[in-house]
């Protein structure tokens, strides 16, 4: 059965149409849009340069203050990193629990997610700062209900190996990290669950058939593939977390970027330049995170689609 393309070269040259006098497609709308945008950008630049309210010298001075820099490093960057570690680890754990066959594990995971997704972060952080009230004797790690057991057995003393002062735990950066981390875990649980469910069932079956235990199947086969789906939204979550560190004020944490800048602003009655200074900090940090996200996505995307070197693909049949 001859196709069209096969028969064409056989035709005499005379029957071929002449060369096409090609004219580029015109995009008048595009040119109008470019002009409009150019004018708007010019207006913005003019505003940034000439408007006295920006007070750029004050902006950079404020950004250079030691408490502000400390607030950025400890209150913003460190809290973001620690909260995301708590959030991602907790979220993956919650997702695995939620997908397990055990109804109690699944139920606990659902309840955790329900609670921490329902409470606003500002309120959650505020509550974290006050939780010390619940544990006037401090928080102890050891045998649960040990005083009852000791009483029953007629012994004395206690079975605890670590005592923490609750008012120190639920204060400052620690409270902030616990609050933001737990809240993040609830969101990450949903993201991780979607990632795990995106991995084909045949993958787990193949790994099980090789004799791998269910834990190994999850860690070595399912999760690495789920990461491809988990990483992009996690990047978003990290960027959101970076910005949510400005809520630490609710705990209250004062060693934090935005609070420090605000206090400078209110001292000098210059609130607008302070907003600009904070914006610049968050812009810079977010840009760095986006670069990191790119490399993470590339790492976990290996072996999938676009990143696979196409040249290595065999031309036809599977004969090697």
């Amino acid at each position: 059965m001859a196709t069209d393309t096969e028969t064409r070269p056989a035709q005499p040259d005379a029957e071929r149409p002449g060369a096409i006098d090609a004219v580029p497609v015109r995009h008048p709308g595009r040119w109008v849009a470019i002009v409009v945008i150019a004018v708007l950008v010019a207006m913005l630049v003019h505003l940034l340069v000439t408007n006295k309210a920006f007070d750029w010298r004050f902006v950079f001075q404020a950004m250079n203050q030691q408490p502000v820099i400390n607030g950025f490093i400890k209150g913003t960057l460190l809290v973001t990193v620690l909260s995301m570690i708590v959030g991602v680890a907790g979220g993956v754990l919650l997702a695995v629990m939620r997908l397990s066959d055990n109804p109690i594990l699944a139920g606990v995971s659902w309840a955790f997610t329900w609670f921490f997704r329902s409470v606003p972060r500002y309120l959650l952080l505020f509550t974290m700062g006050t939780l010390g009230v619940l544990f006037p004797q401090g928080i102890s790690f050891g045998v649960p209900f040990d005083w009852k057991l000791i009483d029953w057995l007629g012994l004395s003393g206690d079975w605890r190996f670590l005592n923490l002062d609750a008012n120190q735990v639920f204060t400052g950066l620690a409270a902030g990290v616990i609050g933001l981390g737990l809240s993040e875990a609830a969101y990450m649980a949903e993201i991780a669950r979607a990632g795990i469910m995106s991995v084909d069932k045949g993958q787990a079956e193949a790994a099980e058939a090789l004799g791998m235990s269910s834990g190994k199947v999850m860690r070595r086969v399912v999760l690495p593939q789920a990461m491809r789906v988990i990483v992009p939204p996690t990047g978003n979550e990290t960027i959101a977390m970076l910005k949510d560190t400005s809520l630490l004020l609710a705990v209250p944490v004062i060693g934090e970027l935005f609070y420090q800048l605000q206090s400078i602003g209110s001292t000098y009655y210059k609130t607008f330049p302070i907003a600009v200074a904070a914006t610049l900090y968050y812009l810079a940090a977010t840009s760095v995170l986006m670069i990191g996200q790119y490399f993470l996505e590339r790492h976990f995307g290996r072996g999938f689609g676009t990143n696979a070197p196409r040249a290595a693909r065999p031309a036809g049949a599977g004969g090697a």
């Binding site: 079956e205 193949a206 099980e208 058939a209 004799g211 235990s213 690495p224 696979a308 036809g316 049949a317």
Partner: protein, 250 residues
């Protein structure tokens, strides 16, 4: 003692009674092909042999050990049983070599060097020693299936299960996979193969099992079951498979 012995196996998915009492053995070194119409339960039977499907009733013995028993160490039993899937199920995030070493290092606790040696030997066996660094998605379907065979062989299994290994392949790639399987059979591997490749079954199998409606209808040497079937159901099936243009007289 039979390598695999299946006793009175029943399996239902909801109200769908897929296996209705299967009794079946595979001896050491035997190549058994299971044939039958789709929905006859042949893949389910295969998946029960390493408990990827848990039967409701009946027992599966591997080397005399009942793997349906709760106390049985299932992961250990599965190490002796290699499985090849219709959809290959290679691990796409791992290179060809890592696909063949991951279970060796994590399950058998072999050293990385030893695992790679075994993997390379088995990739050589399936004719893919030049693809060790490739990722599965860079390979054709036939190559992927051969990697899957090498991955299973790298665990030194006593039995290999093949679940319609060529059904997802383009017709021109089927031959390469069947060649590897034929070689494996000649090397004395015990194989249990669910297949639609009648020519392969006729040539390679020591025994052919015909299943229909969740039961074994007849079994025996290929010359009998395929060449001269006793049961009417077998005859009807073979007529349809061997001559797809044939119209049943009605």
């Amino acid at each position: 003692m039979a390598l695999v012995e299946i006793k009175n196996l029943h399996k239902s998915f909801g109200s769908n009674h897929v296996l209705r009492g299967i009794d079946f053995t595979v001896e050491q070194g035997e190549v058994v092909c299971i044939i039958g119409p789709s929905g006859s339960g042949k893949s389910t039977l295969l998946r029960c042999a390493n408990l990827l499907e848990v039967p409701q009733e009946g027992q599966v013995f591997v080397r005399g050990e009942d793997i349906t028993d709760r106390d049985c160490h299932l992961d250990a039993a599965r190490q002796q049983i290699g499985m090849v899937f219709q959809q290959f199920n290679l691990f796409p995030h791992l290179s060809v070599l890592a696909n063949c070493t991951i279970a060796q290092t994590t399950v058998l606790k072999r050293s990385k060097a030893e695992a790679e040696k075994v993997a390379r030997a088995n990739l050589d066996r399936v004719g893919l020693n030049d693809k060790v660094t490739a990722y599965p998605m860079q390979l054709s379907g036939g190559q992927q299936q051969r990697v899957a065979i090498a991955r299973a062989l790298s665990m030194d299994p006593a039995l290999m299960l093949f679940d319609e290994p060529t059904s997802a392949l383009d017709p021109e790639l089927v031959g390469d996979v069947l060649t590897v399987m034929r070689k494996l059979a000649l090397d004395g591997m015990t194989m249990l193969v669910v297949t639609h490749e009648m020519a392969f079954a006729r040539e390679v199998a020591d025994r052919v099992v015909f299943m229909d409606g969740g039961v074994i209808v007849e079994q025996g040497p290929p010359s009998e079951v395929i060449g001269n079937p006793k049961e009417e159901r077998t005859r009807t099936f073979l007529r349809r498979v061997l001559d797809p243009t044939h119209v049943e007289p009605n």
